[in-house]
Subunit: 173 residues, 2 copies
């Protein structure tokens, strides 16, 4: 399936000059939704994943479905102060300023085989922070999967050495 035909370009969102890749037009189509989930599963099915880490909030959308298909648990990585129990925090730089992600300290055990999922790979800062959190808790990151990769933002460079999969890659702005 050509997933890109289900993605809607929204101009000037979230700000002037940006063309936002809107996945909601894929999600609302039952056939595309199912095919996308199946493809994400195929990417990872032989990796013996036992936990899927989903990054807030659009990484939650396919994250749990993937965990279910893989027979794995699901672990949310969230913005600061959203997770209720004891957390580990990782700060990362954005285009302007910094942000941070947190994970529950007891969410990952040493030796866990981890798939990290998010909707979008842009500069890779968010994904890199999620990798650090998982690895600090002793997990092994076997794959990073995304619905969309903005290849021109060079996220793969920041994530060198990881197995990176995306349903749709845009190589020009």
């Amino acid at each position: 399936m050509d997933f890109s035909q289900y993605i809607r370009d929204v101009k000037d969102f979230p700000k002037q000059g940006i063309v936002f890749k809107d996945i909601t037009t894929l999600l609302k189509d039952a056939t595309a939704l199912r095919a996308a989930g199946q493809q994400l599963y195929e990417f990872a099915k032989d990796l013996k994943i036992n936990k899927v880490v989903g990054i807030e909030s659009r990484g939650f959308i396919y994250g749990l479905a993937l965990a279910d298909k893989l027979g794995a648990g699901f672990v949310p990585v969230r913005k600061p102060n959203k997770l209720p129990a004891e957390t580990l925090r990782e700060e990362y730089t954005l285009e302007y300023g910094t942000d941070a992600l947190e994970i529950h300290k007891d969410a990952i055990q040493k030796g866990d085989r981890i798939l990290i999922h998010d909707d979008l790979l842009a500069t890779g800062g968010t994904a890199a922070a999620a990798c650090k959190l998982v690895e600090a808790l002793g997990g092994e990151v076997l794959q990073l999967s995304f619905l969309i990769e903005l290849g021109f933002l060079q996220g793969r460079k920041r994530l060198e050495g990881y197995d990176i999969k995306a349903l749709i890659a845009y190589n020009a702005e």
Copy 2:
């Protein structure tokens, strides 16, 4: 399966005096994760649902998996200014102050058969706002499903007439 044994009580979160029902301990367990998804599916499988509406952000977690199992599309309802295309907005009252939810105007067609999913039914304000958005676009709300219902907060009263399902109900504080 007794799902309640997988829920963790976290005292004084998000503020003093509140006992937070933490679902992450259920999600990280592969067996409980799958059984919970199956039960949510069983609740709705005969309703001919064609779209599942998930409420940001924890409603995204099982929302897409449910849509996948039901052969439906998935529609996110989000906090203001997160959805990129044209939206409808509904304000609702919280314990202190007001908040709002948005839905894409083209996400629901007249006659769509809708399941609304969120992690938690508390006072029902958020779910009632989601119902209004769906109905304003011509959708029919066939079921509201939750992982947890805090029965003592009387959310069902605010949602009278709807089919409400929850995996776990707490009837005392």
